[in-house]
């Protein structure tokens, strides 16, 4: 997270932190593991009032940023989510809100309004099941049939699909990448819940069998969604990485505290050089994760030319080093670190989940290699 927030950003951080501490303390999160939604509707609605879903939405549509850098503002909330391993589809919901505001036009204003009020949830149906789960692969078809679009294909994992009123579905028409806003009660949609590593986040497989929606359901241009999809990916990655950094910070702080309090052979763990040096390594990874997450957020916000590369770098680095940091925190704790009773797994789950969503570190490294290769050619 940024070393310095402006006054308004600090208000958002403080309000989100206080609300989450109050509503979802660790015992509540443990209890929510058996809840089908992972949170109650009131929780999300009150969060929406704090700005969780409106920061990326333009002012004319009822949203607005607080600092002029909306995505940076949103990372402040995302970071607090990570710090507490809080429930809620923050990335998916914001991706849809941003897309509807930027490209949705008049047709989707009512849905956008409901999202901002927290009355309904919308999620992004983008990733597909293996072997079509590689970053950027889309095989779901959008076929034009008169005044209608017909969707066929499978999306998985789709976050909070079971709770969502709408899905923003990324598919492929003859004309090219296309996005359609589909109500989840449309005939032909089957939603099957999946198991997941996280205690409160929920994912499903969503099957589209000849689902028919009017042409007005298209978000943006038919066949012209490629740029918007890339933008959505960047937004999702920024939110996920900011959240992971929050979870890394909490796990690190917990483990440092443990190292001071836990005595073996008459001395604290923190006095063993072998462990001190590993804490130093973890500290360097943690600060580096803060730094690259903030840099990526600022670049996407400013739509700078290196944004696509920076989000991939943030995802590759935080995915790898974040999960290594968490596993090393587990190791430092010993047996208690792999129990349900201890809090550490809450943050381990969040970092591990975020590592696997929207492209693994290895997939992002391939994307980065493509960028570096062309950088070199340009300067040669």
């Amino acid at each position: 997270m940024l070393l310095e927030l402006d006054a308004d950003q600090e208000v958002l951080r403080e309000a989100t932190a206080r609300y989450l501490t109050d509503r979802v303390p660790v015992d509540r999160i443990r209890a929510l593991r058996d809840d089908p939604a992972g949170f109650d509707a009131g929780y999300w609605q009150a969060g929406a009032e704090l700005g969780w879903t409106s920061l990326l939405v333009s002012e004319e549509h009822g949203g607005g940023s607080i600092s002029g850098s909306p995505l940076v503002d949103l990372t402040i909330a995302a970071y607090e989510f990570g710090v507490r391993s809080a429930p809620g589809p923050l990335a998916s919901a914001n991706v849809v809100a941003a897309a509807l505001s930027a490209a949705g036009g008049e047709a989707h204003l009512a849905v956008l309004e409901a999202l901002l009020a927290g009355e309904t949830i919308a999620s992004w149906a983008h990733t597909e099941p293996a072997p079509n789960d590689r970053l950027g692969t889309v095989t779901l078809t959008c076929r034009v049939d008169g005044d209608e679009i017909v969707l066929d294909g499978v999306k998985r994992p789709v976050e909070s699909a079971g709770q969502a009123g709408y899905l923003l579905v990324t598919g492929r028409a003859e004309e090219g990448l296309t996005q359609v806003l589909v109500p989840t009660d449309a005939p032909g949609i089957t939603i099957t819940p999946l198991k997941t590593v996280d205690l409160t986040r929920r994912f499903s497989t969503v099957r589209f069998d000849g689902v028919r929606v009017p042409r007005s359901a298209v978000v943006g241009e038919l066949g012209g969604a490629a740029e918007q999809v890339e933008r959505q990916l960047q937004i999702a990655l920024v939110i996920l990485t900011a959240e992971s950094v929050g979870a890394m910070q909490t796990a690190f702080d917990l483990t440092v505290q443990w190292a001071f309090e836990r005595y073996s052979f008459g001395r604290p763990l923190a006095s063993y050089q072998e462990l001190k040096h590993r804490f130093a390594d973890m500290k360097s990874w943690l600060e580096a994760a803060h730094a690259i997450s903030d840099k990526a957020a600022a670049a996407v916000d400013a739509q700078s030319p290196d944004a696509a590369e920076l989000v991939s770098i943030a995802k590759a680095f935080i995915g790898d080093y974040g999960s290594e940091l968490l596993q090393d925190c587990v190791q430092m704790h010993g047996g208690i670190g792999v129990t349900f009773e201890h809090d550490l797994h809450l943050y381990l789950r969040r970092v591990v989940l975020d590592r696997a969503l929207f492209g693994t570190p290895a997939e992002h490294r391939q994307r980065i290699a493509g960028v570096v290769e062309h950088l070199k050619e340009r300067s040669a």
């Binding site: 310095e4 690259i292 490294r365």
Partner: protein, 432 residues
């Protein structure tokens, strides 16, 4: 303690040039006065690619460029005006460092001349010392070396055995210093010496300055395992140093030394140095990994591309981390020992990146010819891989600093604490 270099008190907002107009002026000047860097100028780990004549010519050119900086008003951007600097802000220096990226610059002068040597003079030097040396440094007339490490003490620099004994208004120095880069073409040394053997090690040290080329100082060049000879060792025999060339108080050299090493760790974050955005020499960069993959015929190989992606990731993350540390140190939001976090990360990343290059090079890493292009020499780079984790203070020392000074963990047990240095156990090779 204050330093005129980083306090920014010399200039107020109203009487200094704004950063953007300074940047434009710097850009125009750089483009019309400096040559673009050749693509391979920054490649490899301490490669033994220069003859002595070429190295001397390069140093002469660097002195010349520094003089051009001085005449054009770009030398010592954050140095106080009264010593020939520009009295500008770290933001001005950052703009200059960005603009000079891709052009020749006085790379050998930045460390250790500007930081830590000139930085230590600014912090602790007498008025006469500053007036004599800072302008000369800014004009490229004086290149400085740190006479810090000794053959008997690498990480434990406070265990220095080089001795200074008072003789009237002078001091007589004897001992040996090591790991000075290019002492054979440098002018002045900043020396940490022992002035009292009867107190614990940190309390019996004093800092001096001396001209390197004088009777009584023998400079030997050290050959690295790949044939590179840029490091030197000096043998100091009965060298007379006037008391006016003492820096800081007698027996208080560790106060100076602590700050000295702080400046050394700060190097990439220091507003006193010009290091182009995109990095200093002596490291392998992601763009070079692409060249290696291309020349190895592996640019389309997903395994090679994974390694390139990793190299680029670590590269960009390192820069982001250094920026964060610089901002945090300036605003006081992070502990002032946090530069060690950057030193640790940078060292480990550079070593990893050298491994990536060696891996991409494949069999050519083991046996090559010059016609192999970028894949040639990757094997020698790999042999010297650990240099990035040793030079400038080992990563182990950085880990001690991070865990003890940043995270507040208990200090390592030391058997020399509270013991007169004379009585501290020493290995056979360093007995006095």
């Amino acid at each position: 303690m204050s330093t005129g270099a980083t306090g920014g008190s010399a200039a107020t907002a109203s009487d200094i040039e704004d950063v953007e107009s300074f940047r434009l002026r710097a850009r125009n000047w750089i483009r019309s006065n400096l040559a673009p860097l050749s693509a391979d100028a920054l490649v490899g780990v301490m490669r033994a690619s220069h003859s002595d004549e070429e190295e001397l010519a390069s140093i002469a050119r660097q002195r010349e460029i520094q003089r051009m900086f001085f005449d054009a008003g770009f030398a010592g951007i954050c140095f106080p005006k009264e010593y020939g600097g520009q009295g500008l802000t770290p933001e001005h220096q950052a703009a200059f460092s960005e603009e000079i990226s891709g052009y020749e610059y006085p790379s050998e002068i930045q460390a250790p001349t500007f930081s830590p040597c000139a930085a230590v003079l600014l912090d602790f030097g007498t008025e006469e010392q500053k007036r004599q040396h800072i302008p000369a440094i800014l004009k490229g007339e004086e290149l400085w070396m740190q006479f810090l490490s000794e053959p008997s003490a690498g990480s434990d620099v406070a265990a220095a055995l080089t001795t200074a004994v008072r003789d009237g208004d002078d001091w007589i120095l004897n001992g040996s210093k090591i790991w000075t880069t290019g002492a054979w073409w440098s002018d002045w040394g900043l020396v940490l010496a022992r002035t009292n053997w009867d107190v614990p090690k940190h309390r019996g040290l004093t800092v001096f300055i001396l001209p390197i080329h004088q009777d009584g100082i023998e400079v030997n060049r050290i050959e690295m395992l790949n044939g590179n000879k840029e490091f030197c060792q000096e043998f100091i025999t009965d060298v007379r140093v006037p008391d006016s060339d003492r820096v800081g108080n007698v027996d208080d050299g560790w106060t100076v030394g602590t700050r000295w090493m702080f400046h050394e760790r700060m190097l990439h974050n220091s507003p006193l140095v010009t290091i182009p955005k995109g990095g200093a020499r002596g490291s392998i960069r992601a763009a070079h990994l692409v060249e290696i993959a291309r020349d190895a015929g592996r640019l389309d190989d997903p395994l090679a591309r994974d390694l390139i992606g990793e190299g680029r990731t670590l590269d960009v993350v390192t820069h982001a981390l250094q920026e964060r540390i610089a901002v945090g140190l300036r605003s006081g939001r992070i502990p002032d020992q946090s530069a060690a976090v950057g030193r640790l990360f940078t060292g480990v990343v550079a070593a990893r990146t050298t491994t990536l290059a060696f891996e991409i090079a494949g069999g050519t890493g083991a046996a090559w010819e010059d016609a192999d292009g970028a894949t040639a020499e990757c094997g020698n780079d790999y042999l010297l891989r650990q240099v990035s984790c040793i030079g400038g203070g080992t990563t182990e020392m950085a880990r001690n600093v991070v865990s003890e000074r940043v995270l507040g963990m208990p200090r390592e047990q030391a058997l020399d604490r509270g013991v007169a240095f004379r009585d501290v156990p020493r290995g056979g090779s360093s007995r006095r």
